[in-house]
Every structure is written in C-alpha cells, then in structure tokens.
Chain length 281, copies 2
C-alpha cells in the first residue's frame, strides 16, 4: 500500500494509472475509520483495478463553532485498517497543499443543499461539494462510494456530478449500524455511556415509521409526528429536524406516493447525530 | 471535420480520444467567429493532436437585461471558418442538453471575479466559470486557449483550474485588433459607423498610458486620470471603469512596481466595449 501526502504526486500517479488503462475506485473519508468506512471500501475494491482511500478532515465543511478541532484523528490506526483491507493507495493531503494561499473557488449545489442539514450547517455542503470535486480531479476515479447515512451529502454529490458532466459513477452504500441500530459514525464516540443508550431511539423510531408506512400510512406528517413524539419523550434529546423528502431530489412531499427518505438530526448532549431510512413501497 | 451537438456524444468521443492517447486542445467560443477567435484556433491547433472548438451562447453568463437574445448567431459561417482552419471537432450543444431541468450547480471564483467587469455584470463570472468547467469535463482537453481581451475572464479560469486541481494548461492569446487598434469583438458590429470611429479612442488612450508608464510614470492614479480625461472629451462615450490591477491576481495597486494590467469598460451608445493593456517594465 502506498501512502501519498502530496497533491501533485497523487495527481501524477492517478494520471499514469489512468493512461495505463487502470480504473480507479475511490472512497473519500475524514479518517477515524470504522466499520461503516470499511464497508464502503469492501464495496469499492472489486469495482475497479486500484482502490484509493483519501483521509482528510476538510475544514471547509465545518461551520464555525463546530467540532473541527476536536474531530477524532487516528491516522496510524486508519492506515493499518486500510492495509488490512487491501487498499492500494491512501491519499492524505495537507490542508496547506489542498487549500494554498489565494484559494477562492467554491462549488454550490443549490437546491438539494437546502433544508434538512443545510438549514443547520450553513456552508457545509458547499465545503463538501468543493472538496469532493477537488479530490475527484486529483484522484481521477471512475467510481466513488459514499455512505447513505449522510444521505443529503450523497444527493449533493450525485447532483454535482450530473450538473458538471463528470464521468464518475457515484454509488451509495447502505448505512452500517451497531447491534442496537445506531448508525455508525465517528461522532458516536462523543456520547457518554448513558447518551449512547439513548441514541438507539433514533433508528428504533425510524423503523417504526417505516413499518407504519409499509402498513399503508402515506401521510408524511403522520409519520413525522410519530417520530417527533417518540423523540420528545426523552428530555435529553433535542430535535433539529424530522423530515420526509422525495428520495431522488429531496423535494418536500406531503403524501408519500413515490420513493422517499425520512431523515432526522438531533443533539444528544453536545453530540449531533443524523440518520435516515427509505420509504419505498 | 465532425460537428457534434449532443453532450453525451461529445463526452464519449473525447473519452475515446483520450484513452487512445490523443491530446485535445480546446477553444471555447460563443460563435460569430472573427479573426480574434481564428487566431486562438491557429495557436491551439499545433498544441495537441485534436482541436475542438465549442460554439455555445451561454445564457448563464448574460446578466438580466443584457444582449443574450440579440447576440449575433452565425452558425453556418462559423462552421465554414472552422473547416477552413482545420478544426477537427465543432461541439455545438443545445441549451437544454447542457442545462437540463433541475440543473443547480454553480462555480464561484470569488476574489478575481470582484471589481472591474464583476462590479457591472453581477453573476457573469459565475456563469463563465460554470460553463467552462462543464465544457472542460465534456471535452477533456489538455490545453485550452482564451483571448486576453477578456482578461478578467482569463484570470477567473486560470484561478478555477488551479483551485479545482484540473490538469489543463490555460494559454492566453494577445488581443487581436483592427487596423485602428480597436480590439476585435462580436459586439463591435453593434456600433454605428460614427460610433465605430469613436471606438478607436480606447486603445489609443491605453497605448498613451502605456507609453507614459514606459517613460517612468508609476503612479496608477496618474495613468488612470490620463485615460479618463481622454475618454471624457468624447461626450458619446460613457465610462464604466478605468483601473490598474496586478497582472496575475487582479489585486488593486497604487504604484505600478510589479507586472500590471490597465483595463477599461465603456458604453458607446448601446454597445459595451472592454479593452486592456499590460504595464510591464
């Protein structure tokens, strides 16, 4: 396994691979790799000839006052996991190399970035779209895999790829969960043991809403109210949003008569958690 | 010469060429080709194996109330000129194919888009950056040639390419001029015969300022005042701006002690004209 830290070295290496007829698959991460990330890599590995994983905690996507400084960084452990999994190249750029002085270009995907997390994390999806486009241009993948836990992010990237005519297949991987249903996330380790127990409620309620949908409930508000009521019973959980949107374009929907996604964000103590579930008949 | 109108056909064709080891050079245009465009093509032709010219009047870069509807469209004549010049592929996409329903991604290059034309054409450079990035992704060039007449545009594109890690060489071509010095532009044909005579004043004054600079004048304001005073003598010319900026990053400059560009924009009757000249010792 190669570890490349220089942007220009990675760009040259990728160009040579592509010119040599190799297909690159790509999993961008912020490191602190858990089973969710590893599942994306296992999915990406057989989809091309060379698997590249990037590790970069992207300052552009952390809104002011968020956890950029304290975000868990575990580079050596991450490298070991990548090596064990058969990653070919880990690309771990320096911030000053990816955003040199004078950097000033941002990519904005307007519609699908609105609502949901977009309302609570101003600038977040601009930061995500910009770094992902830069990484795509450097790594030159034919296919890239993203987790469905960050579902709005996945939609933003799909829309960007379509709108900017990038020849990259974007693949979503189903959310990987802990035994009690909590979606895996690097931020779960911020939870105290007591908060960790409470956090299982998120997926439990999403599953209940999905079951009600499958039994015939099509009114979005009824399903949302079920989840909101359930969350309100725990005084330690503060709800940011519970919402149902069209699955493919995140447009608001009152009657769930087409494929949809139910998404939520909450704070438990100081930790912000998100999750979602598909509603498809 | 191939004429390709479909975005996906062009993307597939370009991919095949690149995979076959061919290098593509690219001249994006809005058509209505004049000697300025043809000079860019002659420069681009020997720089790669395949010369692609795009013809697309990009609605995103026309601010409200500007000349999008009346912009001269001369497709058949343009094709003839491209064929005579040895262009390999003319890419002439439909608006609905480049911007399908739901299109929502924009690229913003913030700093160099400010001031100069950026102050008078809100959204213009966002539209330019977005369409050029799309065209680059579709056409997949190794080198692209732009005219220096639209100097701020050239700076925006250079900055975008650098910031987004695109592996494309951006080449500027010196402004091509009429015998009396007027910079060639499709918009020159909007001028009445009398206005056309007056328009020669722009380059005459820029040259005078350049001569004063070469004789030792380093105060930006003195050079600007010379041009402004000269333009003010013609009551039919309305000045938008006369400005001197650093040549490479368009930062404002009071003392011309590094490579600089003097740029101006005026209206003569209903026609907006721009021009610029380098100040380098």
């Amino acid at each position: 396994m190669k570890v490349i830290k220089s942007v220009s070295d990675m760009a040259v290496k990728a160009s040579r691979l592509v010119q040599g007829g190799k297909r690159i698959s790509f999993v961008p991460t912020m490191g602190n790799l858990h089973e969710g990330h590893l599942s994306l890599m296992r999915m990406a590995k057989p989809m091309a000839d060379i698997l590249v994983v990037s590790i970069f905690v992207n300052p552009l996507q952390f809104e002011p006052g968020s956890d950029f400084d304290t975000y868990p960084r575990t580079f050596q452990e991450d490298l070991k996991k990548c090596e064990d999994l058969g990653v070919d190249i880990v690309f771990a750029p320096m911030e000053s190399d990816l955003y040199p002085e004078g950097f000033q270009t941002m990519v904005e995907v307007s519609e699908v970035s609105k609502g949901l997390c977009g309302d609570f994390r101003p600038g977040h999806f601009k930061g995500v779209a910009t770094v992902v486009l830069k990484l795509f241009n450097i790594v030159k993948p034919r296919v890239a895999v993203f987790g469905e836990k960050d579902y709005q992010q996945l939609c933003v990237i799909r829309q960007m790829v379509k709108d900017l005519n990038l020849d990259i297949q974007i693949v979503g991987h189903p959310t990987v969960r802990e035994p009690d249903g909590l979606a895996m996330s690097s931020r779960n380790q911020y939870l105290s043991p007591e908060e960790r127990v409470r956090a299982a409620l998120l997926y439990k309620l999403l599953k209940e809403a999905q079951e009600r949908f499958e039994k015939g409930e099509r009114r979005a508000q009824a399903l949302i109210t079920h989840v909101q009521t359930g969350l309100a019973k725990d005084p330690k959980i503060a709800v940011e949003y519970v919402s149902i949107r069209e699955r493919d374009n995140l447009k608001t929907i009152d009657v769930v008569d087409k494929p949809a996604v139910m998404a939520l964000a909450v704070h438990i103590g100081k930790t912000r958690l998100i999750d979602n579930i598909f509603l498809t008949s």
